[in-house]
């Protein structure tokens, strides 16, 4: 019975990956076909400020609105002026084929996320434990978190949709690796992992890692966009640098406290399992490095001269540390955290 469930879990995983691949193709189609990304910054900002006030205005409250502008944000003069750009496309307006592709892509991503969630739950039932005990399961959880984060970002302002292909690509690559070379059978975990702290620590750290993917990718796109090396035709399709920078910041400030909590929870667990709350185990060390890098990112955002370009580099560096911690430290370096389940 349990073996059967594990099998179903694997099937759902494969189905989810397949759906994501298909969604990626659709997104890629949209990205390739989209002429420019002109409405994006406006749509993004409007999603935050403009559309809300527009709704209030339309719903008959009828206040005298004079000179509504975006929040004063000295570092981003362009962000404030971007609202003056074209309004977001009205609901129900005729959609181009590319846009239809993109919308279909998003629907497929939702479907894929649903399938993946079922896969994760079934895995937990089959193994009769929290489904975060080895590399395959970490990757499934992290990519799931990244996808859900992306969907939440899209819900907040769908002007970023064509960029979905850049989010889905690393997700699909990771899931492929997780499902093939890193795959592990559903099985109980070793005694050190049999603790409710596994639920707290590994879940939060996986979600935080998944969250960090989105700002990392946004920052890479930001750097490409703001450097002149990108071909003009391509650059025009990427959302504005301001929108990307803002996206990176907004997701990072959610991910960073969660990551901090995850590290603290890990320290509390380590105190019970290994006899000390912090011992500079390789995984702990790189977690500390990543934490310091993201702290530096937040500081860079508040420092003149570092605000945009420098900060984006720091964010990319942070994602590099997170990915390095997931792969290199789990698979190559011998440490207490060597629970990858891959021998």
């Amino acid at each position: 019975m349990l073996v059967q469930l594990a099998l179903y879990s694997d099937r759902f995983y494969m189905a989810a990956v397949g759906v994501y691949v298909f969604a990626m193709v659709l997104h890629g189609w949209e990205f390739a076909r989209a002429r420019t990304a002109a409405p994006e910054p406006a749509a993004l900002l409007a999603g935050r400020d403009g559309s809300v006030s527009a709704e209030i205005g339309a719903s008959g409250v009828g206040a005298t609105v004079v000179g509504l502008r975006a929040d004063g944000d000295a570092g981003h003069p362009a962000a404030a002026s971007a609202v003056d750009g074209p309004p977001p496309p009205a609901q129900g307006a005729a959609r181009s084929p590319a846009e239809r592709m993109g919308r279909m892509g998003v629907s497929l991503v939702v479907l894929g996320a649903g399938l993946q969630l079922v896969s994760i739950v079934l895995r937990g039932v089959a193994a009769q434990r929290w489904p975060l005990g080895n590399m395959y399961e970490f990757i499934s959880a992290i990519t799931f978190a990244a996808v859900v984060t992306w969907l939440v970002v899209l819900k907040r302002g769908n002007g970023l949709r064509p960029v979905g292909v850049f989010v889905l690509f690393p997700v699909v690559v990771l899931q492929f690796l997780g499902g093939t070379v890193l795959y592990t059978q559903a099985a109980p975990v070793m005694p050190a992992l049999q603790s409710y702290w596994l639920v707290v620590h590994v879940t939060t750290v996986s979600i935080a890692s998944g969250l960090f993917f989105v700002p990392g990718i946004a920052s890479i796109l930001f750097l490409l966009r703001s450097s002149d090396r990108l071909p003009t035709a391509l650059a025009a399709k990427v959302p504005s640098a301001e929108a990307l920078d803002r996206l990176a910041y907004r997701v990072t400030i959610v991910a960073f406290p969660l990551y901090t909590f995850a590290v603290i929870a890990g320290a509390i667990w380590a105190e019970a399992a290994w006899g000390r709350f912090w011992g500079w185990d390789p995984k702990e060390t790189v977690a500390f490095v990543a934490w310091v890098i993201y702290a530096a990112y937040l500081h860079a955002r508040a420092t003149a001269g570092w605000r945009s370009g420098g900060a984006a580099w720091v964010n990319v560096l942070g994602l590099a540390a997170v990915v390095f911690n997931l792969f290199f430290i789990n698979l190559v370096v011998a440490g207490l955290h060597s629970y990858a389940g891959v021998n």
């Binding site: 009828g62 005298t64 509504l68 000390r276």
Partner: protein, 518 residues
Amino acid sequence: MVATETRPPEAPGRPAWTVLRNGWRALTSMRIALVLLFLLALGALPGALLPQRSLNQRLVDQYFADHPSLAPLLDRLGFFDVFAAPWFAAVYLLLMISLVGCVLPRALEHAKALRAAPVAVPRNLARLPHHAVATLDVPAEEATAAVRARLKGWRVAESPEGISAEKGYLREAGNLVFHLALIGLLVGFAGGKLFGYEGQVIVQADGGQFCNTGILGYDSFRAGLRVDGTGLDPFCIKVDDFTATYLPNGQAAAFAATVGYQSADDLAAGVQTWRPFPLAVNHPLRLDGERVYLQGHGYTPRFTVTFPDGQQRTGAIQWSPVDLTTMLSEGATKFQRPGVSDRKVSGLAITGLLAPTTSGGNVVTSVFPAPDDPQVAVDVLRGDLGLDDGRGQSIFSVDQGKVDSGALVKVARANLLPGESLRLDDGTVVRFDGVGQWVNLQVSHDPAELVMLVFAIALLGGLLCSLTVRRRRFWAKITPSGEGRAVVEIGGLARTDRAGYGEEFDRLRADLLARKDS
């Protein structure tokens, strides 16, 4: 850290003072703090990439063997002890000074800001990022009262020009708490390292006892700088048995030891009974100040040696696991022949491998970690064990120098099942009696632990406040416009990087202006 780059004009003064002052300003600037943060991250990396003495001496030795020219250079730079290296300490001390130099003035500033009244109403509210105006069908006094009532929870000041309000002081407070907690964590960590200790000891799981009376009782002991091993809290622990359960594929499913303990108070009161405790992984024994952990386990083969004169000696010394998945173990059980004065020729050592579940055959290896079908494959060595040389030697092996010099000679080799024995050329009989188990206990003492937890929670709380709370300002001008009507003009300004004042301002506008709009 101070984000502003503006500096007061240079005052003429002594150059030394100028250098000091500029140095201090540079150190406490955000730019330098950023650089120090990067250095800290960069400096910590070798701690993850290179083997560390504090974690695994064996891997460090391996690295020296693999990289004979590079390793000594790295060693001189402290790369095998990164977190004890002077340069690492230099970076984090500088960062801490930078932190203190930035946070303390900011805390004073914030304390002042908390007492100060909100900023006066700007002349032109229409120039603010958020602005609205409406004419209400109520007298000015009523409109003012409505604004006043709506601004509950805001810090409000009224002047003839209008009403000023500010909210979100918790942001800076959270920011300061975060940084102060970080300093607390660093100090607490250092304190724990100074006054804490960690000791490892192997105890036979057949009623073996250990008492925390001094460093000598331990197999290894890592003392804090202020710990000299006197004044440890005395307590005793007795390990009655140990059970490991395994899955069919050999993966461990659970480790549990049944122990009894006598706390310092029990010992002082002369209590003779043992308090039972189920010691397990993730379930340490927490005493007053010390924690006892189950950290490892292994097997102890029992050998009985019957010497030609009929005297018997039994040895049961822990052997060390070499393969954790099958628990194949190796070790050396050493005997001195009783009643023989020349110990240089009469030493006996039984060394080799122990398979808890043997593969059988001539070459013994282990196929399963549980002691289901144990067998040993041993060499018996006779001669000078070197135990009287005054040098320490591993209990897990014989002195290889003695073997090389011919002082210790192999006299027999055999594979033995429990109960089987081996007769040496001089008539000595070596019998393998069976296998016992040992556990590795760790005793940890860290006086700063609870403080660290409190600081960690404060850090997280401060971080959440500083990232979610928005500092924002709000102004209202109420002007009577005759016939019991009033023009209400409101304006808002978010003082922080994170946007999102818009929605709240919209609610304010809806509440204040829309109700009696004309």
